[in-house]
Subunit: 570 residues, 2 copies
């Protein structure tokens, strides 16, 4: 395999700089303030008194996985500190790391729910207990601190916790540890971590977990990971599992396993992915539905699933270099991921439907400052904190730029400066700031939606000061749904560049359910600085000679909790 | 109020005779065989050893309401024995009654889950415990045995159990007892039962139950029953609650309360009811969705909700005489209710979507001989066993026939014989077999769908042998969805008489997802004796010069678990 490797990148301006800055300056410390309960759980595991917090609303489920929120936050903090010092953040992270280390038992075991609530006997409820899952997130945090900061305090904790796992580990109801173990192998070089990941991947899919409430496919235990032809069950679990499968396949050079995941990904992307990159149509079990079951109103599209989709596509992009994976990352990032967080950076959506009706019974419907099941907010934090690492890669032939932002890139002797108005404008300028004295190839992803389309690969004997200009073209696109997508029939959507647009009731001349697309008139661009600097909205012609103002989907529900729709009836 | 009263009726042939016969000869004893676990629970409450059965699948929820399945079955058995003797059924019912009586505590309390599993302290978890709900079903069974057979064994048990309720009863998470208490008032004449129902209706809607997992509207505790403007939350709970509200309103002559329910019903019927009469769009909380949220594929449409819809519309019909309620009963009975039970009478659907795609992950999708949460099967049994009681009513002016079947009707000196080919043909003949020597009015409901439409009210000085002939016309109808029903856009449905039709993959020339309605050719009728005697199918023209065979929706999934759709893309 010709595996691509991420290169050093620093985002210095524009759309993504703003997002990383808000994440750093607001979201992460906001999150730390909300993690008191989960940190308190770990303090209890360390022997301090307290009330264990494990309930999702009153009368609801008991959540055994709140430790993972702390670990995801620590991962974000690690990436963030590697981008630049921040004493307040460093102090908060130091405290959290100390709490985590103190909670670990002398035998290495670490899970506050089992230690505090369940009497301390590990691995008795792998189906629902999330013990491996939480450990996976601990490892990921440790990897971030090791890679980004050379700080191995969490790595020491993680290695002791992994050493506590039995040789025959069983199968956790929620996949995720597999990719973490491969990462642990990568940074330690210890084969046993890779072997353990391989074993866990092999154990799942044989009905060992049981059918539970939602059937064996809920936790992908209905078919082995190298045999299942389609994604199934809980979307995040499936996507995390496939991330681990790709990671293992790459390290083991297992083309067969990689091929299986790739075929599953193609099917999923064609039949079970919303226009926004959202996945998981069903509320009941947070699951993928049938092919083309893509209800705009009831699509679950958990923020974590969009993020997991980015993680999987990224791994497939590294493993294969195929631009379709970059396209998928871009679609998810600009739409179904960012919709999960408010423009202010301190309010969140757990689900990301493509339609909301005006009429609602009861309260709710708006973004929330936190969630009782708070898997999504720290997942957003760690992705945004590390987003610069997704921009560009290298291989033996040169450098590949996958995502466009104002950024400084460097790989060995190569240094590049990227400038762009992306996503509002499709022009990209790449300047060679430094180069070795030999030819190499600069590859630029041309998105499938691009209405421009110059050559995407430039092999040259570059000189400092050389420049490549790209204009991807961001004409407004009117998108038709697949005719098999029953819930979208008779509608169109509006896209521009990487952005999916939506109508909000607040910008419409009538109730959204009464509007109909007027195909005889052309939509037009309109600046929307009221929402965000540089933002371009689209005025959509609707029946009756009127227009309705569409905005990027990611920006919806930032002016109250009203109606919204992506797919507009003709 | 001019309240209609049901009259004596006996179904003697045709469509509904077949359904009642299968219910009597197969379904009810099949059900008794499946109630061993629930009866065992009651035996444990009576002191016998055993393993309490309370789990919906492994790893799933604990079900505290299995007693109600026994009560619903007993209600069915009571109605059935009142239609004619059956020694085997009588013996089974006697045994069940003895078990129920033995389970009752000396203080009158009776709930096997509380007695066996929860330590015997009553009313500590009204939100989820279903204690009032189960008691309501016990009362309904007692009412059936009293009314149908003059047998008051269950009534004695029920009265003792009701007497155990505290004066301030609190609010049960699942409504249902209210209508039962009104019935108890009707048969005993004791005002306190009506007062208790009134009190329970007044207590709900003030947030006393809490928000639980799904919000206060889940159990209709978000707004008082006389103030809520729309249905909300768990569909069966809402519908049972409104049944109780109508019953209380009628007895209390409370026009305001009745008016509130009627307005809610109008809104629900217009915006939240599937073409099949199914209600409750959401799987997650078995709830009504937003207005026009009617996904064919994911519609929950619990069989119990369709049945509860019949119960509510029946009460509104009795209270007002308005034919729209009869139309709604008919739509539900012939479609969303009957779809819940196989043609064989021994397999059931819990949910009744209007579409199923071909591709399915995992097994399932077919009808099941029973369900771990088995509320629907005995609900079907009791409705079918008493369906003759829904055919016709009387008031001071005469007799009203609401539903057409080969039947003998009698009310005082009036005796009528109805003959019809319904639902396959729209001709109805009503013969006056006996009549008092004075004028009276015979009213015949003309369904809204009728393409015939003669006068529906005949006031005459009738003679024995007089006959009224009605031809309702059953031309095939092509039905367009409301444009606000997003999930149905661009589709049409086929109806004929009271029946909604559907395509099944097994009858189609291609995958259903590939078919498109061909509006240039007319659909045509075709006999389908392969499925049921007299059945008329419809050949639907589809693109490519082909036809696909549509069958009545109620008959789907009787030839395996394939694809199906009611709404057909143009």
């Amino acid at each position: 395999m010709n595996v691509l490797r991420p290169i050093h990148a620093k985002i210095v301006g524009g759309f993504w700089e703003r997002r990383q800055r808000i994440n750093r300056e607001r979201t992460i410390m906001h999150g730390y303030g909300k993690l008191g309960g989960a940190l308190g759980n770990l303090r209890m595991a360390a022997g301090q008194p307290g009330d264990y917090q494990a309930d999702a609303d009153d009368g609801g489920m008991t959540l055994p996985f709140l430790d993972s929120d702390v670990y995801k936050w620590l991962e974000a903090a690690g990436w963030e500190l590697s981008r630049g010092a921040d004493p307040a953040l460093a102090a908060a992270a130091d405290e959290a790391i100390a709490v985590v280390a103190a909670a670990q038992r002398p035998d290495g075991y670490l899970n506050s729910f089992v230690q505090v609530v369940k009497g301390g006997v590990p691995y008795t409820d792998l189906a629902w207990g999330h013990e491996h899952y939480c450990l996976g997130h601990l490892i990921q945090a440790a990897v971030a601190w090791h890679r980004g900061l050379g700080d191995d305090r969490l790595l020491a904790v993680a290695l002791r916790a992994v050493a506590h796992l039995p040789a025959e580990p069983g199968v956790d109801g929620h996949a995720g540890i597999e990719m973490a173990l491969v990462e642990l192998f990568r940074i330690t070089g210890e084969e046993r971590h890779l072997k353990l990941a391989e074993r866990m991947l092999a154990l799942r899919g044989h009905g060992q977990i049981g059918r539970g409430r939602f059937g064996a496919e809920y936790w992908q235990d209905h078919a082995p990971v190298r045999e299942a032809t389609t994604v199934a069950g809980h979307a995040v679990r499936q996507l995390y599992l496939d991330c681990g499968a790709v990671d293992a396949a790459v390290e083991l050079e297992d083309e067969e396993l990689l091929g299986t995941v790739r075929r599953r990904w193609d099917d999923m992307t064609r039949t079970r992915t919303s226009l926004t990159g959202g996945m998981g149509s069903r509320h009941r079990d947070e699951a993928f539905g049938d092919p083309y079951e893509l209800p705009p109103d009831r699509a679950y599209n958990e923020t974590c699933a969009s993020i997991a989709g980015v993680m999987l596509a990224w791994r497939l992009l590294l493993a294969t270099g195929e631009p379709k994976y970059g396209d998928a990352i871009e679609r998810a990032m600009f739409n179904g991921v960012l919709s999960g967080i408010s423009l202010s950076g301190t309010e969140f959506f757990y689900t990301n439907p493509l339609q909301r009706r005006t009429h609602r019974v009861g309260s709710g419907g708006g973004r929330a400052p936190w969630q009782s099941c708070a898997c999504c907010p720290p997942n957003l934090m760690r992705l945004l904190s590390s987003w610069h690492r997704y921009l560009a890669t290298r291989d033996e032939g040169g450098v590949q730029i996958h995502h466009y932002a104002d950024a400084e890139l460097s790989s060995g002797e190569i240094r590049l400066a990227v400038r762009t108005g992306y996503p509002w404008h499709g022009r990209v300028s790449v300047e060679v700031v430094a180069t070795p004295d030999r030819p190499w190839t600069l590859s630029l992803r041309v998105p499938a939606w691009s209405t421009g389309g110059p050559p995407a690969r430039h092999t040259r004997h570059w000189k400092a000061g050389d420049r490549v200009e790209l204009d991807l073209g961001t004409a407004i696109r009117i998108t038709e749904p697949d005719r098999r997508a029953d819930a979208l029939r008779g509608c169109v959507a509006v896209e521009r560049g990487p952005l999916v647009y939506c109508l909000e009731g607040i910008d419409a001349p009538a109730e959204l359910e009464e509007l109909a697309w007027d195909g005889d008139r052309a939509p037009s661009e309109v600046p929307r600085p009221d929402l965000e600097p540089e933002m371009i909205g689209i005025d959509v012609p609707v029946a009756g000679g009127l227009t309705a103002g569409a905005i990027p989907y990611y920006a919806w529900a930032n002016r109250g909790a009203g109606s919204m729709r992506v797919w507009i009836p003709r």
